[in-house]
């Protein structure tokens, strides 16, 4: 009988680091895309939407395969990077790229819905008060859409944490480098190491519960803060 997780905690750190990095990129890109899309209307926008949402509907393996074509030794991006002596495929950044791309649609779709919900009169009032478009977004639209944007961020983090298919295609299973928790679980099951698989599953469940619990308490404290500020001053 081996010790817990065979004393190798690296998949946990890789998973967390990957998810944090992917959430960061997907937050920025998803929000920017949503804000940009808010201002553009027309028939061509349906295509843009389709492209942005593709990673959500395609099987992750297909997304991973496309990424492999793009970032591989002979892919357009891969070639360019190789010229600077960089290889993305089967490296830690590959896990981040895969997770970012797969999580992106969730951030985009949620942020867009949240921004659309903001009453345009607030934005117009800000404009008549002399605010630049950046200030209108940063100080009016974003704060008012914040609950939705936050929900999108959390969904993205959860999606990045659970990412498997695209990651396996692009980053492979290199212990201590690209082996995230889902990948370790898969290969543990495949090699009949059920105990290791169960232990990692427990870790995953723990992280998820902690995430949900933290979220629950955070929203409760937010609600309490708003209602206390409502009465404290009156």
């Amino acid at each position: 009988m081996n010790s817990f997780l065979q004393n190798d905690w690296s998949p946990l750190w890789i998973s967390l680091a990957t998810s944090v990095a992917a959430t960061f990129f997907t937050f920025v890109a998803g929000l920017a895309a949503a804000a940009w899309r808010e201002r553009h209307h027309g028939a061509a926008m349906a295509l843009v939407d389709g492209f942005f949402l593709l990673p959500l509907v395609l099987p992750p393996t297909v997304v991973g395969f496309f990424l492999l074509l793009l970032f591989g030794r002979n892919g357009p991006v891969g070639k360019l990077l190789f010229r600077f002596g960089e290889t993305v495929v089967f490296s830690w950044p590959a896990t981040v790229i895969a997770a970012t791309v797969v999580a992106f649609p969730l951030m985009y779709i949620t942020a867009r819905a949240a921004l659309e919900q903001v009453d345009p009169h607030f934005l117009q009032a800000a404009r008549t008060l002399g605010a630049s478009e950046w200030r209108v977004f940063r100080e009016v639209a974003l704060p008012l859409a914040w609950p939705g944007v936050l929900a999108g961020t959390i969904l993205s983090f959860a999606r990045a944490l659970g990412e498997f298919g695209a990651t396996l295609m692009l980053a492979g299973n290199i212990p201590g480098k690209t082996a995230t928790i889902p990948i370790v679980i898969y290969f543990a099951v495949e090699s009949d190491d059920l105990q290791l698989a169960i232990e990692w599953c427990l870790v995953d469940v723990t992280i998820s519960l902690a995430l949900l619990g933290g979220l629950y308490y955070w929203t409760r404290s937010q609600a309490a803060r708003t209602s206390s500020s409502r009465w404290a001053r009156s």
Partner: protein, 359 residues
């Protein structure tokens, strides 16, 4: 004139096509819902662009269809008061007011917002959030916020429509005070006739995107040029008319001959009288020949707390019919005084109160 507007914009059901100027006297823009009033304000504020035309403010072109100028809203220096105030819900009153005060020191911001809050009497609400304020307080905060940027013109979109009746007169006083201090162009959009009259010095009546009447408010109310304007300014009684002599007409729908004092220019095709101008006489003998006195019968009446509206038929009663010729409005006291008198009653349509209109 400081503000000159001449624009056209195709809307869904009609074309907004208006031209007017505004100086330091507030201009009321009156019209029914959907007449294009708000769109007009939004074009001046820069939230929408007209299809063509020109808007200038103190000599500065804000929009010019010819030279393709469309200054963005943030650079127009035009303050706007939205119907539901649009106070930023995540900022306190003081922060809302300071929002437009960008690029100055924090001390200066605090000093200026405090002065503005003082001006609209909400100094004690600085740290409240908009949702903690009453409608009137929200409006005061919105006024202060709009004035903070020291705009060169102020636009108000239905400023009192979201308020309870008892708050309206208070806020009307606040607005009058604000306009008096502001001394720059003020455009005030409303569908309420009394508001338009009380708050504006001049009046523009808008109907389906067109200017139906424009000028001094007294003039527009006293002599509405068309039936439409008369109706939009609250007149209830109209009749088709035919000229008989230089000072007499025949009111076709009322079935009577009327003496008029207003010179009959062109072909007046309608005559009108406001409901509160219809006079009731104690006895027929009080009347002189050219006084337009007619016997009348009551068809029905409708009471409000202080006034009664009477629906009348002239000349002869009509059994089993609710058709009426005129609506008269009288104070309750007067109504109680003569309601039990036998018919016919006698009404006078004073020549001074009658006005002639085009279709």
């Amino acid at each position: 004139m400081p503000l000159e507007v001449q624009i056209a914009k195709r809307l869904r059901d009609f074309t907004l096509d208006v031209s007017f100027t505004a100086g330091s006297a507030p201009l009321s823009i009156l019209g029914p819902s959907g007449a294009g009033k708000s769109m007009l304000l939004r074009c001046v504020a820069g939230l929408e662009n007209p299809d063509q035309g020109r808007i200038t403010l103190n000599g500065r072109a804000l929009f010019d269809g010819h030279s393709k100028i469309a200054i963005p809203a943030r650079e127009r220096r035009v303050g706007m008061l939205f119907q539901h105030y649009a106070l930023l819900p995540h900022r306190t009153v003081a922060e809302n007011i300071a929002f437009g005060l960008d690029g100055i020191s924090t001390d200066e911001k605090i000093r200026r917002s405090a002065a503005l809050m003082d001006r609209v009497h909400i100094s004690d609400l600085a740290n409240r959030y908009p949702r903690e304020l009453s409608g009137g307080e929200q409006q005061r905060a919105a006024i202060a916020r709009a004035l903070a940027t020291e705009p060169e013109a102020l636009l108000l979109d239905e400023p009192l429509s979201a308020l309870d009746t008892h708050l309206r007169s208070q806020m009307e006083a606040q607005l009058q005070e604000t306009f008096a201090e502001f001394k720059r162009p003020v455009l005030l959009v409303t569908h309420n006739i009394e508001e338009a009259y009380r708050l504006g010095d001049r009046l523009l009546v808008l109907s389906r995107g067109r200017v139906a009447a424009y000028g001094d408010k007294e003039q527009v109310f006293r002599h509405p040029p068309t039936v439409e304007v008369a109706r939009l300014t609250g007149c209830k009684n109209f009749s088709r008319a035919k000229t008989i002599s230089p000072d007499a007409i025949e009111a076709i729908d009322w079935g009577c001959r009327l003496t008029v004092t207003q010179p009959i220019a062109g072909t007046p095709v309608h005559v009108g009288i406001r409901a509160h101008h219809v006079d009731f006489l104690e006895a027929e003998s009080q009347a002189s020949p050219n006084d337009n006195v007619f016997p009348c019968w009551l068809v029905r009446s409708s009471e409000t707390p202080f006034r009664t509206t009477l629906f009348l038929r002239l000349n002869q009663p009509l059994e089993n019919s609710s058709d009426y010729h005129l609506q008269a409005e009288v104070f309750k006291e007067k109504w109680l005084h003569f309601r039990d008198r036998p018919f016919p009653w006698h009404v006078r349509l004073s020549p001074q109160s009658l006005f002639l209109m085009q279709e």
